[in-house]
Amino acid sequence: MRRSSSSTSAPESLYALATAAARSVVVVGTAKNAGKTTAFNALCAVARRRGTPVAVTSIGRDGEPSDALDAEPKPRVRLAAGTLVALPVGLIPRSPALAILDAGAESALGRIVFARAVLPVTCEIAGPPTARAMRATIDRLRALGEGPVLVDGAIDRIAALAGGDDAVIVATGAASGATLARVAAVAADAVLRLTLPGRDRARERARVVRLEGALDARDAEALLADARDATVVVDDPTRIAVRGALFAKLREAVDLRCERPLRVIACTTSPVGRDATLPPRALVEAVARATRLPTFDVVADLAA
């Protein structure tokens, strides 16, 4: 555990780690209000400070003034001049005007439009509804610009990233538990699932079980009863629908693999939850220890 040095802040360190790992970086949250958009904004702010033009989009909808479900205030998304953005027609701010570059897939809020901020602008962002369209959107943003592509993601909708070279940052915090131990356990569980290793045919066990679709609790029980010591292969980590102790037990019992792995590189923490506030430093430490990943609090400027 360290406090960020004065020369390299937590946001700077996270940005450097993420952009060194991949051209596109996706932030996903372990729960609603886990600090996902805050971490995303911190990455954007670092890029802005460095003068690096980035491209941004969202899996889901982010940047609205308040949450559509609980009316809680939400962080807005600020685009610096030169930022590329993919967002639906319905969310394009009328002023300052964006330069419209291209149009892509349909979404519930209209066609996804690729645009460039000419002047700084605050807006909501959202992305396409399907995994394939999300993949195409990220790839188009990569083609349109040269800088990093930053995606405000959703943990249950990142199948599009599986098998790709994108880096994933897991945002967690007091929104997913009232105690340090609970938050750390939820984060560890999420990271364990998302870091499911890729299939290695040379090292597979004698029996290989290939599961199509989701691996749910019933599948897990059946595998524990019948397929101990087998290699079990799912399509990608998002197909794992079991959580907690059952998942840990399964992971221990079988050689669990996926065809298309994800690359999880770091965690971020947010100490503020709706029902609890946790000590920031202890939270960063606990999550780092539980996930064994570099962990950052980008608002308290902490890293572990």
């Binding site: 394009i92 009328r94 002023s95 300052p96 005007a97 002047l119 308290a300």
Partner: protein, 532 residues
């Protein structure tokens, strides 16, 4: 548009449409774009009284099919498919709704797509007539915001835009300077780097007074969440001014687009007509086609291709034999099994349907009326099965309905009517039905295996030429595909006048070719000879 002076246009029920290839034909000449589909749906098929218009449309298609390169037609259709739809944008602009920058971007794409289409037309050798329109005026209106295929509400669109943007740029820079100054104080005093909207100050790191313009959002025993406040009224004013200037620029731009709305609408109609035309040109280039003579007394064609069957045969590597027919009123058609009687009926319907749809019939030549109705009797369709009608019942119901509409403007195609009932009663019913159709002056082609129908009904008798004699005794083929190839090679599919009222079905020879046990064939031949 339907010519109000014309009689009721051509029509065919679902069973007939399937049997004569009308469904296939409509799909084959379907336009590729939304303009074309809209245009196509607005045009009714030609019926009696529309002969001049039908001939003119077909003549234009034939001429273009000869003049345009077929690859060029493919490229033109691809270019048409890529033209975006401007109509909703134009409609909203006309209604006074505010347009968005994406609307202007889409109109820019529309202009570009028109240019690409016109280039494709020239490259295909299209000439000046029918050349797709381009919208130079619209291109000019949007030009100041376009760079390549992109659109930006550029400063040049309104006199106040540049100043408003400059003012906002200055205000944003000032905002950043002030924010960074406060952030520097935070870093110096507290050691936290406030990059985002909000930052956290741990009490065990710093619990003293905060620098000016740092606001506390919330406090807990272990930390304070804070944000930087930059008060800069001129930034808010610059944002508001820019918003007004940009809206004014969009309003002005939308008004200018309304000024071009009629031209845009006319252009989309022209694109629709071109899309329909090119779909038919592509059809004619693939299947060939003639300009038919519209006459009242006969349905005749030379070397016509029933394209759906030709396509299916081609997919299996088999050759299609074009058919010729000269039908004057009603005729009975007989011939061997697998000799193409049903195909001959379908070809007659297909050729007439092509003419009714303004498509060159795929034939060397054709003379025919424009029919109000084409009807098929024979077998049952899905609708009949849903009504739990037997094959015979379905045929009788269709015969009843067809007879009610029979006239010199109807073509009735009868495929082995009453074959599923007793042969004596079935034949009698068919003769009586043929007499009734003849009395109503309908055109009809009656395919049957019943003997003596033509003589009894006193109508011409045509027959399929049938298996060539030398091959009738060929040994059974090893498999069905090989047998079909052999039959195809052995069969003379020509429709010729029958010299007497008896036509062999060649059933036994075909059964042998298809590999039925030779003992059964021999026994059947003996029985058949005894009966004869």
């Amino acid at each position: 548009m339907i010519d109000s002076a014309a009689e009721k246009p051509f029509d065919a029920d679902a069973v007939t449409a399937e049997r004569i290839g009308l469904i296939w034909l409509r799909a084959a000449v379907a336009p590729v774009g939304s303009f074309g589909r809209r245009h196509d749906e607005s045009i009714a098929p030609y019926g009696p009284g529309n002969e001049m218009r039908a001939r003119a449309e077909i003549a234009e298609i034939v001429a273009l099919a000869e003049r345009l390169e077929s690859d060029g037609v493919l490229r033109l259709r691809a270019a048409l498919r890529a033209v975006p739809e401007p109509s909703p944008i134009v409609a909203r602009a006309r209604a006074g709704d505010a347009l968005t920058d994406v609307d202007f971007y889409e109109l820019g794409r529309f202009v570009d797509a028109l240019d690409a289409l016109a280039r494709a037309w020239d490259a295909a050798g299209g000439g000046t007539e029918r050349r797709p329109p381009v919208l130079d005026a619209l291109r000019g209106i949007l030009a100041r915001g376009r760079d390549g295929g992109t659109f930006y509400l550029a400063d040049a669109f309104a006199p106040g835009l540049r100043a408003a943007r400059d003012a906002l740029g200055v205000a944003e820079a000032e905002f950043e300077v002030r924010r960074e100054a406060i952030a520097a104080r935070v870093r110096d005093a507290i050691g936290v780097d406030p990059v985002g909207e909000e930052f956290v100050i741990l009490r065990d790191v710093y619990d003293g007074p905060l620098p000016d313009d740092v606001l506390i959002a919330r406090e807990t025993p272990t930390y304070r969440a804070a944000s930087i406040r930059v008060v800069l009224p001129q930034r808010d004013a610059a944002l508001a001014r820019l918003a007004e200037e940009e809206e004014e620029a969009r309003r002005t731009l939308a008004e200018r687009i309304v000024g071009e709305a009629d031209a845009i609408v006319v252009t989309t109609r022209a694109l629709g007509a071109l899309d329909r035309l090119l779909a038919r040109v592509a059809f004619a280039q693939r299947w060939g086609g003639c300009i038919p003579s519209f006459v009242n007394e006969r349905v005749s064609f030379d070397e016509a291709t029933f394209a759906p069957l030709a396509e299916a045969l081609s997919a299996r590597g088999r050759r299609y034999t074009p058919l010729s027919l000269d039908l004057r009123g009603l005729a009975v058609l007989t011939g061997p099994n697998m000799g193409g009687k049903s195909a001959a009926l379908a070809t007659a319907g297909f050729v007439c349907a092509c003419a009714a749809l303004g498509i060159p019939p795929p034939a060397r030549a054709a003379s025919l009326p424009l029919f109000r109705q084409i009807g098929w009797i024979g077998g049952e369709g899905p609708h009949d099965r849903a009504r739990l009608l037997s094959a015979y019942a379905a045929e009788v119901v269709r015969a009843r309905d067809t007879l009610a509409a029979a006239s010199p403007r109807a073509l009735i195609l009868i495929d082995e009517f009453a074959r599923t009932t007793g042969p004596r009663e079935g034949r009698a019913l068919l003769v009586a039905f043929a007499e009734a159709l003849r009395a109503r002056g309908a055109f009809a082609l009656v395919a049957t295996h019943f003997d003596g129908v033509a003589e009894a009904a006193q109508v011409p008798h045509l027959r399929i030429a049938g298996l060539r004699g030398a091959l009738q005794a060929a040994a059974g083929a090893a498999d069905v595909d090989a047998a079909l190839d052999e039959i195809n090679a052995a069969m003379d599919y020509r429709i010729i006048a029958a010299r007497d009222d008896y036509t062999a079905s060649d059933a036994l020879a075909l059964a042998r070719l298809l590999g039925l046990d030779e003992k059964i064939i021999t026994r059947a031949s003996t029985l058949y000879a005894d009966e004869a």
